[in-house]
């Protein structure tokens, strides 16, 4: 098939996927779920086909790549559609792990390790932490309405579809020039990454550090619960006397 033909296949797949996403988004009742699932399977198959055959990249026939693509996209869809926030977060962990594996496939081992350590190991734990703090595993009122109803799913899906279709069209139709330098795979290890980051991007690295510092201080300043210094409640008159702030010896 020609490249032009694949473009229309890709648009069809994107439309199918958009439809599936529209149907699968939570909207308070489960009636469309099955249809969404069917369309989703179809569009996923289409996507994998496009990835495998449509891009003229023989290396994409690698089975690992296809499996990981499936996990990544499927996980991302579940992140978006799952009505329970904790599951969303856990599916996102899956997305991150699959992305890390994809990075390994692309020869970016260091980035993969960093992705797992920082994203899955720290950022997402924080997400899970906050979600869990906010919502118990099974609240008495059942699932919360704002988790089970999507907001303007139609327009959003259309926007997403147009974006993906545009990008896909550009990716397919562009005559991508051949690679300029050496194949990056051979050189991509921790050492060369470190050399790159610490020499060419040294200033960016410093800036990233400053950014992290500022964010840390900012987060502390925002989230810290202030102790009311000047409006402390009046002391409880009924409390037993003699206990007020007494000093004791340690041992």
């Amino acid at each position: 098939m020609t490249s032009g033909g694949w473009v229309y296949v890709t648009y069809t797949v994107a439309a199918l996927g958009a439809l599936a996403l529209y149907l699968a988004l939570p909207r308070g009742r489960a009636s469309h779920r099955t249809a969404g699932f069917v369309f989703g399977v179809a569009s996923m198959a289409g996507l994998l086909t496009v990835l495998r055959y449509g891009l003229g990249d023989p290396a994409a026939s690698n089975l690992y790549f296809l499996i990981l693509s499936f996990l990544t996209v499927g996980g991302a869809v579940r992140v978006v559609t799952h009505p329970k926030p904790v599951y969303s977060a856990l599916y996102f962990v899956m997305v991150v792990l699959a992305t890390a594996a994809l990075a390994v496939l692309a020869g970016a081992e260091f980035l993969a390790a960093a992705l797992v350590i920082v994203y899955a190991g720290a950022i997402l734990v924080t997400y899970v932490f906050v979600i869990m703090l906010a919502q118990q595993s099974e609240s008495a009122a059942g699932a919360l309405t704002y988790d089970t109803t999507a907001r303007e799913p139609g327009w959003s899906v259309v926007a997403g579809f147009v974006l993906v279709a545009t990008l896909a069209g550009v990716i397919l139709e562009r005559p991508w020039p051949a690679a300029e330098g050496e194949a990056g795979v051979a050189a991509s290890n921790a050492l060369s990454i470190g050399r790159e980051v610490l020499t060419r991007y040294a200033v960016s690295l410093e800036l990233a550090g400053v950014l992290l510092l500022v964010a840390m201080i900012g987060a502390l300043a925002i989230a810290r619960k202030p102790v009311p210094t000047d409006e402390v409640p009046p002391p409880d008159e009924t409390a037993p006397p003699g206990e007020t702030g007494r000093r004791v010896r340690p041992f």
């Binding site: 907001r151 303007e152 327009w155 959003s156 926007a159 997403g160 147009v162 974006l163 545009t166 990008l167 069209g169 550009v170 562009r174």
Partner: protein, 650 residues
Amino acid sequence: MTGDVTQLAVWILLAPLMGSILIGMIGLRGLRDRAHWLAILGVAAALVAAVMLFNDLRAIPNAERAAAFEKSHVVYDWFRADAPTGGRGWFPVEFRIDSLTSVMLLTVLSVSLLVIVYSVGYMRDHHGQGERGYERFFAFLALFVFSMCALVLAGNFLLLYLGWELVGLCSYLLIGFYYQKPSAAAAAKKAFLVNRVGDFGFGLGILLIYWRCGDLSYTYVFSDAGRAALDGYETIVALLLFCGAVGKSAQLPLHVWLPDAMEGPTPVSALIHAATMVTAGVYMVARCGAIFTASPTAMAVVAIIGGATALFAATIALTQFDMKRILAYSTISQLGYMFLGLGVHAPASAIFHLFTHAYFKALLFLGAGSVMHAMAGEIDIRRFGGLARGLKITAATFWIGGLALAGFPLFSGFWSKDEIIHAALNHAPILGGLALLTALLTAFYTFRMIFLAFHGPQRLPPGVEHAHESVAWMTVPLLLLSIGAIGAGGVAMASGDFNIHAWLGPVVAPHGEWSGAESHAGGEDLTLMIVSGALSIVGTIAAWYVYRRRPAIATVVPILLPGPHQLLYQKYYVDELYDALIVSPLRRLGRFCFGMDRYVINTLLWLITAVPRSIGFMLKETMQVGAIQGYAMGMAVGVLLIVWVVLAGS
């Protein structure tokens, strides 16, 4: 050997800096009343390193000195820039380590160490608790020592400028130490702004050097090639550089900040407004001898401004009553001497005077601080007197400092001042005469102060029961400094490397730029020595006569001569003059600009913005619904548009 010296220089810089940073980090929480230890440790380490540096330099054989001293010690590649002409366009952190540097380092660090030790006693209340901001004070002092050492060690003009501005900053911080006091805050601001005037010229001079030479390192600029590149520009460059020196060293007409700077704590006055920072200008001119000597005009300007300032400040000092203010004017006057020395081709003598002056002026200031401590902050010499009975050590050391300042024979000031006067008489007799007159006045006002404060019947300001001597933290530095005040003149007579002329010779006159200087060695004109010694004695006796024997004269003179006295007492109305000529017009201009900005330009802007604002208002009412997703949708549409235009369109 050079590596060794470079390392020592790095330590000299790092030790006080580390002290300062550490105090800043843990001072408030951990150290508080112990904060001084880090400062003392840092500066003492730097002093030890400076002594070792001096020894290392002495180890260089005489024949190799000129070459070794011209070397620049690069420690760090700072940054590069395109040079406008020739030159390397390279700005490393580099040091110039030679005999001049070592003399300056020893002076700065030894005086600083003593002043910091003194401050330990001074900055406490009667219960031995540190004042508010105690640790801040020591952090600033250590930072100042770092800045001054950076200035002295600098191997190119960029670093010199860095140190120059850093000492200015420290001076601002320290003058404004009692920032709750409006007068202190104003004085700090004034010092900073007046210095800016001078520094502006200084910066222009450096830029001019860069423009001509394409390089700022001393090694290049002072070399034959560098001087050739500056050919035709020496006068303007030298005058611009001197402009900076005038600001920093408080010469006419930018002297106004220094007397006000006495608002800072007294150790600050002693350290940076008497002994070290204000000498930066002298050091800089001596360092840039290659440029200055190329221009006779510039040399004449230096000499004239120096001589005029010396006399001018001395006359003001005659009438003041505030002890620290008298000392401040005396400092200005002595700095004038140094510039006079530089201007009449006697740089070694100028540096020599700088060296001796550092000790006796620090001594005098610290003594004044001790008096102030005993008098509960009172410093007006009309309010107290006869303190010699209560403050024995302070009075004795103050006497020593006074004698040195007055140029009493055999005290350190005598030797150095004498050399300058000698050179001035040889070079420009009029200036020499002025200098002699100033010497007489110096002796007079010094002993006027001493007699009024320490002798006669004991009088104490209200609220002070009895004058008590200060703690050992304060008296020991006084005693040590008085040794310096007596003995520092000895370097003029010492032999070998310890003779200041022999030691500085290869640096200040390597190519014979300072012609006339090398012929002059200390105190060889016996007649002049006798004359100047006699003048100082006459001044002393006159002071004794007027203020002890016939105090009536002192009260009668202002009444008999109200005009001149008022002129002097009001410091020649310089501040008022500046106020009328510069400050008020500027303020009026500012007010006018502010009005323009506020009413004319703002109206215009308001009109221009009215259109988008009304569009925005309509959008706000219609599109802004308060849901983040709505905005995100807008962003998404925008991204889509960009993708379409950029990617699909091409």
